[in-house]
Symmetry: C2
Subunit: 246 residues, 2 copies
């Protein structure tokens, strides 16, 4: 936890009272004392410092901070992810990892090779996935909570949402092992926002790929190696970031 | 498991008898029958097909294959990793992920912020880390087992091994948040082999960075976001691969 995050509604006249794992972290890991400062941030807001005004260093832990926010977080991520819903345990890891790497919106969609039961997973409830996004922000020292959108049906997503969605991006790319093109030539010369799509374990089926290509996504391959979805998501995020920073 | 791997010594006049998780995988997941073919590969050798000659589809599973090897695996990875020993659970994930992504050698070294107890972890025994490398190869359809080298002491490593080691690479880079340079200008224009170094949680200490810079490693930053070691390892592997493929 490289920053202590709180929600706007927790702020009371410049004071925040922490009573959960954040208080425990300040007491046990940071070992902060009265009058010390910790790095704090308001969700979707600014970053600053919190002065420890009161501390209860035995269970149940409690820390009162006087916060002073002034700094904007790192520039907003220019990468969004379109992801065929992966298995719950993998989704958790992906959510915190891409949040740490920097992601604006994660679109979770259905696909032929997505197991139906994945859509019943508890992790798809906001109260269950939010902590994983928080972990990512706390790791990366960011305050901007990624947006999560879910589309339980492939066809309505592709027909009703995708056309408008891709109009928001300078580049829309889809990892597809059969493509002869590498990533770089698939990204628009003008930088700006990038949407990248990663399929389910076993890949998209032909019909799905066809729909994406018709919609204008550019297929790219990163070579013959077959990667797990979480490895592909992180590795390709790195590739796109690298290209955008060139 | 996208390929069934076996060791040279398991090969008996073109036949391989499987009696472990590989047999189970063929029976339960691939649901292969008599006379069917599965993709096989010899560790550090070639890739081909295995014809199912005999199968015992109840526990204990058993599959006999007649193998025909002819194809070389994907080109050998041109990236090596120098890694401050991470906590065991993270190391497992990193080993299989970088093996899947393609890595030649992983140098595990000590650093000031490496917890001493990590060096006692079971995962550092060959019989315990090999399965994680195998997972990576089975995922990526590769047969080339990465080499693992361990250096329990930082100073002897830097003084006695590093100079010779870096002479084998066209580019040696080290992730260092304080650097003003991005990755691309730190990589040599002539492609070839790249060594990238990733520090422990909390980073290298000044003395260590100094030693690496003196030895000739180029420090680069990927921006202000602080990443977990496993995320950094995979994401930066993606960045380097992308740059090498340009």
């Amino acid at each position: 936890m490289n920053i202590i995050l709180f929600e706007e509604k927790e702020l009371n006249d410049g004071h925040v009272l922490l009573r959960d794992h954040r208080a425990k972290h300040i007491v046990k890991i940071l070992q902060t004392g009265l009058g010390d400062f910790v790095r704090v941030g308001a969700i979707n807001g600014k970053i600053g410092s919190g002065k420890v005004l009161a501390i209860k260093s035995k269970y149940p832990f409690e820390v009162e901070l006087l916060v002073d926010l002034g700094k904007s977080p790192a520039s907003p991520p220019s990468i969004d992810l379109l992801l065929a819903l992966p298995r719950p345990i993998m989704l958790k890891r992906i959510l915190s990892q891409v949040t740490a790497l920097g992601i604006g919106t994660i679109y979770l969609i259905n696909a032929n090779r997505v197991e139906k039961s994945f859509w019943d997973a508890g992790i798809l409830k906001e109260e269950e996935y939010r902590p994983h996004l928080f972990h990512g922000l706390e790791q990366a020292v960011d305050t901007r909570l990624p947006k999560i959108e879910m589309y339980h049906h492939f066809r309505p997503f592709v027909e009703d949402h995708l056309p408008e969605l891709i109009s928001k991006y300078q580049s829309c790319v889809i990892a597809h092992p059969d493509s002869k093109k590498s990533l770089a030539p698939c990204l628009a010369k003008e930088r700006g926002k990038v949407l990248y799509a990663i399929g389910p374990e076993g890949g998209w089926v032909d019909f799905e790929i066809e729909q994406f290509l018709n919609a204008g996504l550019q297929p790219f391959s990163i070579g013959p190696r077959i990667l797990k979805v979480d490895t592909a998501v992180v590795s390709i995020h790195g590739r796109i970031s690298h290209e955008l920073e060139r």
